[in-house]
Structures are given as C-alpha cells and as structure tokens.
C-alpha cells in the first residue's frame, strides 16, 4: 500500500511542478468567472441567483472541458513513460503492475481535483463579492457540481490509461484520446439526436434512447446536473420522467465506467513488454 501511495505522491508532485495544476485550474477558473460575469447581465443589476445560474452554465461547459483535461493528463501515463524510459525501472521493482496503475490514478485524481476545486471556487468567491451568491442552496449546487466533475474526470483518466497501455506509441495514444473525446462529448450526442429525429413513432425515444443516453458517462453527468438545476432542464425539452433511472442512480454510469476502464487497463498493462 505504501508503494501505491509513493507513486501517487510522485504523480501529484509532478503535476504541480510542471504547472499542470495551474494551467488546468486557470482554464476552469477563467470560464467560471466569465460565466458568473455573463450571468450578472448587461443591466448591471445584481441577480440573487447569480451563482445558481453560473453553476447551471458551468455544468454544460464541464461536459466538454473536464474529459479533455482528464485525457490530456492520462494519455501519456504508460506509453509515453515507456517511450521516455522512465517506467521500466518502476516495473522492475517488486510492485505489481495494478499497483502502478492504482498509484498513478490516485495521483492524477488529486491533481485534477485540485484544479477543479480551485477553478470552481473562484466562481463562488466572485459571486459572494458581487453579492449574488444566493442562499446555501447555490453553494450546495456548486459542491455537487465539483464532486460530479471529479467523478467525470476519473472516468476519462481511467479511459486515458486504457488507451495508453493498449498502444505502443505515445502519439497513437494521443490520437486515440482526442478521438474518444470527440466521440463521447460531440458525435455521440449528434448521433442520438439524429436517431430521435428519424424515429418519429417514438419507440426509439421511449425505449432505447434513455439507456443510450445514460450509457455515455458524459451524458449521464449532464443529465444528473440538469436534473439538479431544474431551470435548465425545462429548456432541453427532456423531462426527467423519460429516464429509466433518476437522481443519484444516474451516476452509476460514470462509476461503472471508472471500474471497467481501470479493470481493462490492468489487463492491458499486464501485457506491456517494456
């Protein structure tokens, strides 16, 4: 166990020292602050629901940003380290390969969590300064968004490991990571939308579509957070009644994805010949 922690500490340290945390937190903070400022409106009048609105917008944005940041953090973890020759020594020690992955996962998760907490917190701080923080409920919403964003990030860190330990070249891993991002957060939704439009009788919409939506961890994240922010839900035209499962159960999708992706990564890294 101490070996796993040692790797986690090293990964976190590297993430902080190579400015990874600052960069990711900076990107998230910039968008968070922009969304709060946009929410304050052109009239300059301070809305008491400033933070709630910002959280709703942030959850939409996070679907694109968080997977990208997580994949960038993890695609290099195995193939890249073997390319550079830094992983061979670790694999030659008594530590098991699944422990190497577990340590990296913990370390990268901490790096991502720091970036998310710092980035989102800047929205909260700004809203308080502008006097639009609203009640405790808004902060609860921000906390829920933070935790679910970390969960969403965990999915794509694990998926990044799977690509990184399945290919030999770090360049291939990078291309795969970009492809996965594009498919999960853009193309998948477009395909679902196309399916909805073409199946006029509604069978697809009622039976297959909800499950397909939840199958995608990014969509599950979106559904959960929109359900939490009911104002946004009205605009999507997708009632929560249409979903086979509701509330926190929706998050089962990203949780299962984390477990599956890490499991397959362990199988893949066992076959790696450094």
């Amino acid at each position: 166990m101490s070996a796993v922690l040692a790797i986690a500490v090293v990964e976190t340290r590297i993430g902080i020292r190579n400015s990874w945390v600052i960069l990711a937190a900076g990107i998230l903070a910039t968008f968070s602050i922009l969304l709060v400022l946009l929410g304050s409106g052109p009239s300059g009048a301070v809305d008491a629901h400033l933070l709630s609105v910002a959280v709703a917008s942030l959850s939409t944005l996070a679907v694109y940003l968080i997977p990208l940041i997580a994949l960038l953090l993890s695609f290099d973890a195995i193939a890249g380290e073997i390319d550079r020759g830094t992983l061979q020594l670790v694999l030659a020690t008594p530590i098991a390969r699944w422990q190497v992955l577990a340590g990296k996962f913990l370390g990268h998760l901490v790096v991502l969590a720091i970036a998310i907490v710092v980035g989102y917190a800047s929205a909260g701080v700004l809203a308080v300064l502008l006097g639009g923080a609203g009640g405790l409920e808004a902060f609860y919403g921000l906390a829920v968004l933070t935790l679910t964003s970390i969960l969403l990030g965990a999915v794509f860190i694990a998926v990044g490991y799977l690509t990184s330990s399945s290919v030999r070249q770090t360049g291939t891993a990078a291309a795969l990571a970009v492809g996965i991002w594009l498919v999960t957060v853009v193309l998948y939704d477009l395909a679902l939308l196309g399916g909805l439009l073409s199946s006029q009788d509604g069978i697809f919409a009622r039976t297959v579509f909800p499950w397909l939506l939840l199958l995608n961890p990014a969509d599950a994240f979106r559904v959960f957070n929109m359900e939490a922010v009911d104002t946004a839900l009205l605009q999507t035209g997708l009632g929560a009644d249409g979903l086979p499962i509701r509330g926190a159960a929706v998050l089962l999708s990203p949780v299962l994805w984390v477990i599956a992706a890490l499991g397959f990564s362990v199988l893949a890294i066992r076959r790696v010949k450094p």
């Binding site: 101490s2 070996a3 040692a6 790797i7 061979q88 020594l89 030659a92 008594p94 098991a96």
Partner: protein, 309 residues
C-alpha cells in the same frame, strides 16, 4: 562445497532461447552468477544482452529454458525483490529531485528510509540531492541510476552498460563501489561493449555473439584460449636492419624497426634468439594481445570461420 556454491547461485540461466519472428535473439544460453561474483556480459549491439536482461526482469518470457533469480522464476514478485536494475540510458521524471527519486525506489522496494542517504552518499550525489534531476549531467544521471539500484541492498545487481557516460574518475569510483558490494555478497552481472572498458574489474567474462554464448571464463583463461599471437617489435639501426630482417623475417616498420608476429609458444625461443644477436638489435618491445584483440577474436573471428565453411 559444491552444495554451498549451488545455494549461492543467485542468477541461474539454463538453456534459454528467445526468437523475435525470424530473428533468433538468444540461442541456448546457459550462464550463472554466484553471490559475491562480478560477471561481465559482452557483445555487440544486437548480440542479445538486452534481451537476456529483459527476460531476467520478467519483461519477456523465454521461448525455452529457465531463468532463476535467487531461486525464483524470473519476473516473479520474489525475483524482482531480489534484483535491482540499471538500464543503459537511465531516465527519470525531470521534475523530481535526486532524493525524491531514490526515496520513491526505496518505498517501491520496501527499503528503510536510512538507505536513501546511504545510497546518495555512496554515489557522491548528496550535494546535488535536492536539485531537480532535469538539471543533472549524463554522468550524474547515471550515478543517480546506480543509487536507486543499490537501495534495499539487492542480492543481484543487473547493470546494462553502467559506465557509459562516466568520466574516467567516476568510472574508477564506480568499479570500486561494485567491488565493495560484491564483497558483501551481491551478485553483479554487468554488460559492456568491450573488454578494454572493463579494465579487468570483472572476475568472469561472458561473451555473447548473435545470441550464442561463445565464451565464459576468467579473463586470463580467455586470453590463453584465444591463443592470439604476440607481437615483438625490434629496433635496430638503419644500416643493420636489413641484416636483421634477413635472419629473423617479420615485417619492416619505419626505417630501423622490424615487427615479428609469433604464437605464444614460439615467443620464448624467438626472444632468446633475438637476445643472442645483440650486434643487430638495439631495443626490444614485446606486445601481448590487447583486451580489444581478445574480444574481437571471440566476437568477430568466428564469423569469418562460418563464412568460410
């Protein structure tokens, strides 16, 4: 005595073969390293040294044969606990300091924290220990690699061309450190490009050629078995050199010298004959075969024989 030696056979390679497609990287290689022994594995690039090391670390499975490290199958957790590895071009995350890197490997090997300072001190990196290793020179990186290899007091040290990139002073210190580790019972297997680089520090030399072990023995035995000719260079004077050349043969060098090549068993009679003719000889220089020549004999010469047959 035999039983004792068997027990101390920390590296036991038996009839190991490995092919990559049509390339036969290792063919029926048998080699052992006892506790306290320093064995040098020599061979050209592509001779199979690194493949053998990768099998020893469990990164590759041999096609045939068995490879035991400290009595355990190579690659098993127990064998990896016993072995420490220093790759040819060692690389570390640039953002970490030397002390953090050695600390990481101490944790991974379950070594006590006191090992960290001791290892850094023995490779003379204490002063640079708090600097990020991205700022290290190649020699310092190599020494840091050695420091991570010796934490946890491994039973077996596996060093892939450990002295490449080291200056002569560091190289001498390196072999001193290896000798002191071997004195405490560590089995050391190191690879190298040539015999001359070893400076006769290894107790035993094994030479791989195209995946086959073509030599395995003490350096002196290898020199003797190679039976390479000795060169005798005789300096005469410009007037008498023709006379000498007529009597003894050999090859004219410069205007006043002759170089005679003779097998090792003809050396003494030849020297005696030259000694008996002081009127045409002003100086004698005897040049035994160099380590490079011995190495070339084993790693190249047999190629030519095969080509002829």
């Amino acid at each position: 005595m035999e039983g004792f030696r068997e027990m101390n056979r920390l590296v036991d390679i038996t009839s190991v073969s490995k092919s990559f497609g049509a390339v036969r990287a290792l063919q029926d290689v048998t080699l052992s390293v006892q506790a306290g022994e320093v064995v040098a594995l020599l061979g050209h690039n592509g001779a199979g040294k690194t493949t053998l090391f990768r099998i020893m670390l469990g990164f590759l499975e041999p096609d045939r044969g068995s490879l035991l490290v400290s009595g355990n199958k190579a690659g098993s957790r127990e064998s990896r606990s016993a072995i420490s590895y220093l790759p040819e071009s060692v690389a570390f995350p640039k953002m970490l300091t030397g002390r953090e890197i050695v600390g990481l490997y101490a944790k991974l090997k379950g070594a006590p924290a006191s090992d960290i300072e001791r290892a850094l001190e023995s490779v003379d990196l204490l002063d640079a220990a708090n600097r990020r290793c991205g700022t290290y020179s190649k020699g310092m990186r190599q020494r840091l690699g050695l420091a991570q290899a010796i934490v946890g007091s491994p039973q077996v040290l596996l060093l892939d061309e450990p002295t490449s990139g080291l200056d002569p002073v560091s190289r001498t210190e390196f072999y001193g450190l290896i000798a002191s580790l071997a004195d405490t019972g560590t089995a050391v297997l190191l690879s190298s490009h040539g015999l001359s680089e070893l400076e006769a520090r290894a107790g035993r030399v094994a030479i791989l050629r195209k995946g086959r072990l073509v030599a395995d023995g003490a350096l002196a035995d290898l020199q003797k078995n190679a039976n390479l000719p000795t060169r005798i260079r005789v300096r005469s004077t410009a007037e008498k050199v023709d006379d000498f050349h007529r009597r003894f043969g050999g090859e004219r060098v410069n205007c006043a010298s002759v170089e005679i090549t003779c097998a090792s068993d003809e050396k003494m009679p030849m020297l005696a004959a030259i000694h008996a003719s002081p009127e045409v000889v002003s100086d004698i220089e005897v040049m035994p075969p160099t380590l490079d020549e011995v190495y070339r004999y084993y790693s190249l010469n047999e190629d030519n024989k095969e080509d002829l047959s």
